[in-house]
Symmetry: C2
Subunit: 153 residues, 2 copies
DNA sequence: CGACTTGATGTCACGTGATGACATCAACAT
DNA sequence: ATGTTGATGTCATCACGTGACATCAAGTCG
């Protein structure tokens, strides 16, 4: 992240990242499949958190309410790293390879939420639609949040 | 496409593609920014067609009806190349880099449709929502169409 | 204690993707 | 005949990503 912010994603080589971390490029590729993936390290955790929150919603909750619980979990997780989130987002926005990766991560997240809803007994296509709607809300809200003036959490 | 189908996307080098076309790898990269982009050559045309159809819908048409017109245009364009569409889709499905590229193309298409709706006087967020809904329909319908037994157009 | 695994890292070599600089050549206009 | 323009080729170069093998530290067991 430091290097990506300093000089931009494309201008940063994997060798430089590895050096900054006190490692070798080869080792970098043992931890991250890609030069891109290092920016999405946390997205797996976020997805797990959200799926767990969705599964933990009360049985009485509607599909959209369960999705809402997942979004709350995401908000409380991201809320602790607002500066980081903002920087990360502007790095991603500046490069199309990174935007592509982000899209596929969001698609994976939507699929995971839909699967979680089906586990709750929600039938298709309702499960997928609720999941997609939740991701749409997430995108819009996240975008507003990181571009917002200093204020709220 | 021939080579991607024969031996898979990753196993095909740009040099081979260029050779098959009677050219040089250097020339390939003058026409396509990427090894991936060659599979998405037509998506720009498709997008233009759809935007034109959307713009050409009668003033009386609702936003969703205008989007429907765009989808009809896409259907008649793709309907003429069903085998090609099917092969292309299975190549894309088999490789995650290609799936990423496809997602960003669809996102671009959604943005173009939303913009077209705004030009028709549709306010946000209705324009974006209608566009996203149209793309969702497109994805599902296209998926079913290419995986369908030999029958319909 | 010494030998033996195991996991993380480094080193090296290599193929491939992608780009810049320059040369070539055909088509065409004047 | 000359010069221009556009498309292509050639060459050099860099960075990404991976396989093969070496090394070294931490632990395990006889």
């Amino acid at each position: 992240m430091e290097l990506y912010v300093e000089r931009g994603y494309e201008q940063t080589t994997v060798a430089e990242i590895a050096e900054r971390a006190g490692l070798t490029a080869r080792t970098f590729f043992r931890y991250f499949t890609d030069k891109r993936e290092v920016l999405f390290e946390g997205s797996g955790q976020l997805q797990d958190m959200m799926v767990t929150a969705l599964a933990g919603a009360p049985d009485s909750a509607s599909p959209m309410q369960a999705v809402g619980a997942a979004l709350d979990a995401a908000a409380s997780m991201l809320g602790q790293h607002r500066d980081f989130s903002g920087q990360r987002q502007s790095v991603i926005a500046a490069n199309s390879e990174l935007r592509e990766r982000e899209l596929i991560k969001l698609a994976s997240l939507a699929a995971a939420l839909a699967s979680g809803l089906r586990d709750r007994g929600v039938a298709e296509p309702r499960a997928s639609l609720a999941a997609e709607a939740g991701i749409a809300v997430f995108r819009v809200a996240f975008e507003r949040w990181v571009s917002e003036p200093d204020s709220a959490g």
